[in-house]
C-alpha cells in the first residue's frame, strides 16, 4: 500500500533555519544540517528544504549547502529556492537531491517546467504554488516572490496547465495559514485536487497530527507537509525538532485512509 507522506518543511535564510508566520516574521530555529540529522533518527518520510532568500534576493541556489544536505540525508529530499534554469535543476539532481522545486520562475516562465522535466525526468519536478485566499473557501489566487506579487490566476487553473507541462508534484502552500497551526485550507486543496491527477503535497497550517489526519481523510494518499508543527513545541513555541513516531503515523493513516 502506498502511504501518505508526512513531510517536514524547512525554510533556509542566511544559511540558518527559520520559521515564518504568514510568510513574515522569520524566527531562527537552528542549523539545517543538525535538523537533517535529527530527522534521520526519526525516520522521516521525506524532507522539503526551501531557501526563501534565493529568489527574493536574486541569488542562485547555494550548491555547497545543497550537497551537504543531500549527503547527510537518509530520507528523500526536495529542494527549492532560486532555481531558474534546467541547467541548475540538473546540477541539483546531480548533487543527490531527489526533487527540485520551482516556484516564481515556473509561473513567470511555464516553458521552464517542461525544460526541467526533460532534463531530470517528470518525477523530479515540483512546483510550489503560494496561494492566497481572495474569498476564503471560495476564491484563491496564486502569488509569487514570497507572496508579494499577485498573478491573477487561480491555483486550479495553474495546476491544470502545470500537469500538461509535465510537472511531477504540486505543493499547495497557503500563505494565509502559514505558521498559524489551525489546520490546512482544505477548500484550496480541493480545487487543485479536482483540477489535476499529479501527486499533491499540502503546506501551511498544520498544528497537530489530527490536522494531518483530516487532510488524509479528505484526500487519501497525499503529502502532508508542515513547518511549525515539526520545529516548535508547546504554546510558547519553544524550538524542539519533533516528528510523530512510526506507531502514531501508522495509526493516523489507518484511521483516516479511506478510498482515495
Amino acid at each position: 500500500m502506498l502511504r501518505p507522506r508526512i513531510i517536514p518543511c524547512l525554510l533556509v535564510r542566511d544559511k540558518g533555519l527559520v520559521k515564518t508566520v504568514g510568510f513574515a516574521e522569520p524566527k531562527y530555529v537552528g542549523d539545517p544540517i543538525n535538523a537533517v540529522k535529527i530527522f534521520n533518527e526519526k525516520e522521516v518520510d521525506e524532507l522539503m528544504v526551501l531557501d526563501i532568500d534565493a529568489t527574493a534576493r536574486g541569488h542562485g541556489p547555494d550548491y555547497r549547502m545543497i550537497e551537504n544536505l543531500a549527503a547527510e540525508s537518509r530520507m528523500p529530499l526536495s529542494y527549492g529556492g532560486g532555481v531558474k534554469t534546467a541547467e541548475q535543476a540538473k546540477t541539483i539532481i546531480g548533487l543527490g537531491i531527489e526533487k527540485v522545486a520551482i516556484s516564481s520562475a515556473a509561473i513567470e516562465n511555464p516553458g521552464l517546467v517542461s525544460e526541467v522535466a526533460e532534463a531530470v525526468g517528470n518525477q523530479s519536478v515540483v512546483v510550489v504554488l503560494d496561494v492566497k485566499a481572495r474569498e476564503p473557501g471560495v476564491k484563491y489566487e496564486v502569488c509569487t516572490h514570497n507572496g508579494r506579487v499577485r498573478t491573477g490566476r487561480s491555483p486550479a487553473d495553474v495546476a491544470a496547465s502545470l500537469e500538461k507541462l509535465g510537472v511531477g508534484e504540486i505543493v499547495v502552500n497557503s500563505i494565509d495559514n502559514d505558521g498559524r497551526m489551525r489546520g490546512y485550507d482544505l477548500a484550496a486543496v480541493r480545487q487543485v485536487r479536482e483540477a489535476t491527477n499529479v501527486p499533491l503535497t499540502v503546506l501551511g497550517g498544520a498544528g497537530s497530527l489530527k490536522d494531518i489526519g483530516e487532510l488524509i481523510r479528505n484526500f487519501g494518499v497525499i503529502g502532508a507537509a508542515a513547518g511549525s508543527l515539526f520545529v516548535f513545541k508547546g504554546v510558547y513555541r519553544a524550538v524542539l525538532i519533533n516528528y510523530p513516531s512510526a506507531g502514531d503515523r501508522d495509526r493516523v493513516i489507518r484511521e483516516c485512509l479511506g478510498a482515495d
Binding site: E43, D45, A70, V120, G121, S124, N197, V198, P199
Partner: protein, 204 residues
C-alpha cells in the same frame, strides 16, 4: 571493495554515507581506472533514461563495466534509473540501454488506475519479496521503501523477479539475473529498510 559508479547522476554520497555508518569501505569510480579494485558495483541513477545512458557513455566506463559484469560476474546493484538502464530499451527514451537483463522499461498505464493520484508513483510503499534471496534477508515480512518513478522494469523472465510492489498494478520492483541486481526504489533513502538491503548486498 564496493565501488559506487559516479557518472554524474544519483546520490553517490548517500550510498557512501550508509556504508560508512556500517563500517564498510567504499570507493567512488569516475573513470575506468577507478574500477580496478571493485569487487561489487553500485549503479545509482535518477532522472530520465536517455540522460542516464548519455552520461554513462560519456564517463568512459561503459566497456569496462560490460566486461566486469558480463564476463567476470562482478555483482552489481542498479538503483532507480540505474535499474532501468539494465534493460535494453525504455518507453521513456530512444537510446539503447545496457541490455544486461532481459526485459524492457514501460510506463504505468494510468487508464487502469482507480486512485485519484496518478504519476509519478511517489512515496513509501510495501515491497513483497516473491522468492527467497539474500538481498532481502531480514526484510521478508516487513519491507517498505521510497519510490519515485513513472516507469518500471518489466522482466522478460518471471524467475528473475525478486520482489513486487503494487501501484495500480503489480510490478517488479527488484530483480536479479546472474548476480546483476536492480531495485526500483531508493534504498539509500529508505532508512533502516534500505540500510538492511545495502548491508545484505555488501555481504553477498
Amino acid at each position: 571493495m564496493i565501488t559506487i559508479i559516479d557518472y554524474g547522476l544519483g546520490n553517490v554520497l548517500a550510498f557512501a554515507n550508509v556504508y560508512k555508518r556500517l563500517n564498510i569501505a567504499t570507493a567512488v569510480a569516475k573513470g575506468p581506472a577507478d574500477l580496478r579494485a571493485a569487487t561489487k558495483l553500485i549503479l545509482p541513477g535518477v532522472g530520465a533514461f536517455d540522460h542516464a545512458m548519455e552520461l554513462l557513455q560519456r564517463s568512459g566506463m561503459r566497456e569496462t563495466l560490460d566486461e566486469m559484469v558480463l564476463s567476470r560476474s562482478v555483482p552489481v546493484l542498479g538503483v532507480c534509473v540505474g535499474m532501468q538502464i539494465l534493460a535494453a530499451r525504455s518507453e521513456e527514451g530512444r537510446l539503447q540501454g545496457l541490455g544486461w537483463v532481459d526485459g524492457d522499461v514501460r510506463k504505468f498505464d494510468v487508464a487502469s488506475f482507480r486512485q485519484r493520484t496518478h504519476l509519478p508513483h511517489m512515496g513509501w510503499n510495501d515491497v513483497k519479496p516473491v522468492r527467497s534471496s539474500a538481498l532481502f534477508a531480514g526484510l521478508e515480512t516487513d519491507a517498505r521503501f521510497y519510490f519515485l518513478h513513472s516507469y518500471y522494469f518489466h522482466c522478460a523472465r518471471r524467475e528473475e523477479v525478486l520482489a513486487e510492489a503494487d501501484y495500480g498494478t503489480t510490478f517488479s520492483c527488484a530483480i536479479e539475473a546472474n548476480r546483476i541486481y536492480g531495485v526500483q526504489f531508493h534504498p539509500e533513502k529508505s532508512h533502516r529498510y534500505g540500510v538492511r538491503l545495502l548491508k545484505n548486498f555488501a555481504e553477498l
